[in-house]
Symmetry: D2
Subunit: 124 residues, 4 copies
C-alpha cells in the first residue's frame, strides 16, 4: 500500500501534519478489506480504534511516496492489535501500534469470520 504526500497533508512547517500518519495507516487497513473484495463495514459490524501508540522518526514531505506495511501482533476475541510502519525508500519514518475493537452497532462483539480471514493472512 503506497500513498503520495499532497499539499493537504502538509502544514506550514513544510512537513506532514502529525495526525495525517494515522489517516495513512487507516487507509492501509481499509485497503486490506478492499483488496479481498470485502468492506470494512459488514452486517452492522465494524472496527473502531481503542488505543494506539505512535513514534515519529523522520518527517515526510510533499511528493514523497510512502509505503505502509501492516502486521498482526495479536488477535483476541473482540479486538486485535496491529503494528503498522510507514517507510520512505526502505527507511522507517513512522511506527504505529493500534488496537481495534470490533463493534456490532455500538457494542464490542466477537470478531466475525468475515473479518478474521483478512487478518489471519497478515499474521506475523
Amino acid at each position: 500500500m503506497k500513498v503520495r504526500v499532497y499539499y493537504e497533508d502538509t502544514d506550514l512547517g513544510g512537513v506532514v501534519y502529525h495526525s495525517k500518519y494515522l489517516n495513512f495507516c487507516e487507509r492501509a487497513r481499509s485497503e486490506l478489506f478492499f483488496e479481498k473484495g470485502k468492506s470494512p463495514v459488514w452486517q452492522d459490524h465494524h472496527f473502531v480504534v481503542q488505543k494506539l501508540e505512535a513514534i515519529y522518526h523522520k518527517p515526510a514531505f510533499l511528493g514523497d511516496i510512502l509505503e505502509i506495511k501492516t502486521n498482526v501482533v495479536k488477535i483476541k476475541r473482540t479486538n486485535l492489535t496491529l503494528l503498522q510502519t510507514i517507510q520512505r525508500e526502505g527507511e522507517t519514518i513512522f511506527e504505529l501500534t493500534v488496537t481495534l475493537v470490533c463493534l456490532k452497532g455500538n457494542k464490542p462483539t466477537r470478531i466475525p469470520h468475515y473479518f478474521l480471514e483478512i487478518f489471519d493472512e497478515n499474521h506475523l
Copy 2:
C-alpha cells in the same frame, strides 16, 4: 461565528489550504442550527451541497481569527442559496455562494418548517 486558524488548516505554502474555507463556512451553517438548539439532521432530513462558487481574496494565516457571516440569498421549495463571507478584522478575504438541497433519505424533498425557521431569520 468565529474560527481560529490552527496548524491543521495550513499547508506548506504557510497559508490556509483552499478547501478549508469551505469547512469553515460549513461550521457556520451548522452553528445556525446549534444556536437554536436544533440539529442539522432532523427526521431523516438533511442538506447537501448542490453547487458552490468561491472567490479567494486574501490568504489567512496561523492564529488568525476569522469571522463568518451567513446571509440567505434565495429560498426555493427544495433548496436554498446562501452567501457566506469570511472576514479578518473587518476585511473580506473569502466569499462563498452555496446552494444546498434538502434530502429526505437520499431524495430531494420540500424543506421542512423545522429548518425554514432558521433561515427565515437570516434572510437578507
Copy 3:
C-alpha cells in the same frame, strides 16, 4: 489519476464530505507535476486558487474508486483556468472549474515556462 474513498473522506451522512472533492482535484493537479518529475513549488513560484465553481451531481461512497480528469480551459499571463471532472465508472459525479494564479513569493507573476510546459500538454 485515480483515488480511493476512505473513512476519512466520509462524514456521518455516509457520503464524501463536500470539500474533499476539492482535495481530490488538487491531488490530480499536483500529480500533473509529479508525473513529469517536477514539483508544484519551483524557485519560489507556486499556484494558489483564485476562484472556483463546483457542481455536485452524485455522492461518492466508502471504497469508491474515482477518476479525476483535468483539462485546460484558458491560459493567461499570470493565471490559468482548469476544468476538472470526477467520474465513477464513467459517470461524472462532480465538476470543478478552478482558476489558479501563479505567485512568486506572495505576488502574482508571469507563469514560468517550467510550469507552462505541463499545462500545454493538457490543453483541450
Copy 4:
C-alpha cells in the same frame, strides 16, 4: 479550551474520526500560545510530535462540545511531555500523552525561555 464537533470531524460511522482527536489536542496546545499573545513558531523554533499514546474511551458525536485539558507531565532540555484529556460534560472520553521535541530549523534544540514560560504555568 472548548471545541464543537462539526460534520467534517465525523465519518460514516456517525462518530468523530479517530485522528481528529489529535487535531483537537493540537488546537488546545496552540491555544496555550495564542492566549499568552505568543506564537507556536518563534525565531525558527517550533515543536513537533516525537511520540504519543492515545486511549479512546467513548465516541464523540456531531454537535458535541468537547473540553480539552492540558497538563505538563515532564519538561526536559529539548522536549516536553503533556497529558491532554478530552471531556464531554465532565466525562473523559479521550486521553493523549504526547512528547514534543523543540526544533530550531530541523534540529532538536534547547527549549527557549519564550516557550518554557507557557508550560511552566501549566505544570501539574
